[in-house]
Amino acid sequence: MLQNLFITIFELVPMLLKSAEQGLVFGVMALGVYITFKILNFADLTVDGSFPLGAAVAASLIVSGYNPFFATFVAFIAGALAGAMTGLLNTKAQISDLLSGILTMTSLYSINLRIMGKPNTPLLNQSTIYSLISDFFSKIWPSFPTEYTYIMFFIVFALLIKILLDAFLKTQIGFALRATGDNPQMIRSQGVNTDLAKVIGLILSNGFIALSGALVAQYQGFADVGMGVGTIVAGLASVIIGDSLFGSKTIFISTLGVLLGSFLYRFSIALVLSFRLAQASDLKLLTAIVVIIALTAPRFKQTFKVSAKGGKSYGNS
């Protein structure tokens, strides 16, 4: 029993690699969650629907013979539309942020089933963006280490999304979005339509989330209508871990923190599972526990030391 608690270095390295792959590919989703929860201060639960939406759209298009890159792009657009839906429910129909997201998420469950026509779409023997990339590089470089295609692609892609997001948040419109989450009264009196700012943020956020869903479906080899359950909690866990470990001194650090938070989250889950004290079906429970710890830890810390560090609290907002 006790020796089960120890893992060898030979198990650790593949585990780190796997966690890095997952951390980065789900990190794109976490960046989407960061936009709504952290930037806009909008508790968006669309996530659990827009993530499998991206997977469903991409998988369905791929099995119908479309180019995987095109399929992935369409998944992004589909997610953006879902975000717009939540945004319009909230700003035009005046439904609360939580309920708007829940309504979109619930309707997406049926929509995702319609898109796939069945609960699960396997991508076995289909070409994916990874197989295309791997084939391309093998052609120009015969000794290309194909087993590292995923990690290389995910590093490049996640960092690209991070850099694009950083840049966007430094534009005038990015400032307006940040101020909308920070002090809506102030930014309205500076001439910004905060409703529009919210909708733009939700579009971008759910676009990223669906994009991540599309990448995950191709990575794991299938899209499943149930794969969205708990996505929001995983996203939040990444954002909160990133924030508490790396702070939010600048946007650059915050978004880097989200990606690293996503990695640490995946790694800690993998670690717990490898102890064989928990089994794979305990995953969602573990996720919730990680989030609870991340949410309450800062408060315990504060009991001992008055922290001068500010930042938004998720626990009571």
Partner: protein, 264 residues
């Protein structure tokens, strides 16, 4: 010129809490007017400013600015020509953004939804110069987050942001009330300086009768949702606190009561 025409605003209509906050309020504001507004608690002073700024729709009446009917214009569109400073120093700035980022949003007004960089070398230089002329010591703290500033510094910053792009109308709602007396004096003199230098038409609500009399060229008193006193010109210039209180009692047949009003 700004014209308020027979404005009514009723909160909680048809409930036991029905509240006629603005009752047939009319006011004509000339270009360059600096109007101070006094009145007891709940007189409707803030509601009047909120109605002008478009925070909520009014129930009836019209608001006309330079010949344009802005009664149905949403708040963010009116922001193109209205600058505001609130009583609460927390309301006027984005706390988790830096000083320069906050200034950038004011500088860009009303084109805040563009994809250009919010900050560049040029803008930083402009902001630094701007802050150098103010007695706040903020010119070397452009990258400080606003939440780290004192209430007075934030209020001064809000004032700068409200007037950076010269507004057609500046609305100040007890903007020094939450500050300690020393800081209040500083923000008040900054207000006078900015308003006079740029000739900005201004409405300033205050509960400090001395400020109301000393500052501006026109003084109005509100009571129960309407304007009960409008003092201009020579009369305003020679007004004193006792005469003001006297006049109120004569007009209303009751004493001016506001426990927050400072007589000194």
């Amino acid at each position: 010129m700004v014209i308020l025409e027979h404005i009514h605003k009723i909160f909680h209509r048809n409930t036991p809490n029905e509240n006629h906050a603005l009752a047939d309020l009319s006011l004509e504001i000339q270009d360059g007017d600096f109007i101070t507004v006094i009145g007891s608690n709940g007189a409707g002073k803030s509601t009047m400013l909120n109605a002008i700024a478009g925070v909520f729709p009014i129930d009836s009446g019209r608001i006309i600015l330079d010949g344009q009917d802005i009664t149905n214009l949403p708040e963010h569109k009116r922001a193109a020509f209205i600058g505001r400073v609130f009583q609460d120093p927390m309301l006027g700035t984005a706390p988790s953004m830096t000083i320069e980022e906050n200034l950038s949003m004011a500088y860009a007004r009303p084109n805040n939804m563009s994809l250009r960089w919010g900050l560049d070398f040029n803008r930083r230089k402009i902001f630094k110069e701007y802050l150098k002329n103010l007695p706040l010591g903020l010119e070397d703290r452009l990258t400080t987050k606003v939440k780290l500033l004192s209430g007075g510094q934030r209020q001064a910053l809000t004032l700068i942001m409200a007037t950076m792009k010269k507004p057609k109308l500046l609305l100040l709602d007890e903007h020094t009330a939450a500050l300690d007396p020393k800081t209040a004096i500083l923000v008040n003199s900054l207000t006078e300086e900015i308003v006079h230098k740029n000739k900005i038409t201004t409405i300033m609500v205050t509960h400090n009768l001395e400020h109301a009399i000393k500052m501006g060229n026109r003084l109005i008193m509100m009571h129960k949702g309407r304007i009960v006193m409008d003092i201009k010109g020579e009369e305003k210039a020679t007004m004193t606190i006792p005469r003001l209180l006297n006049k109120f009692e004569q007009l209303q047949g009751e004493k001016f009561v506001d426990d927050r009003v400072m007589l000194a």
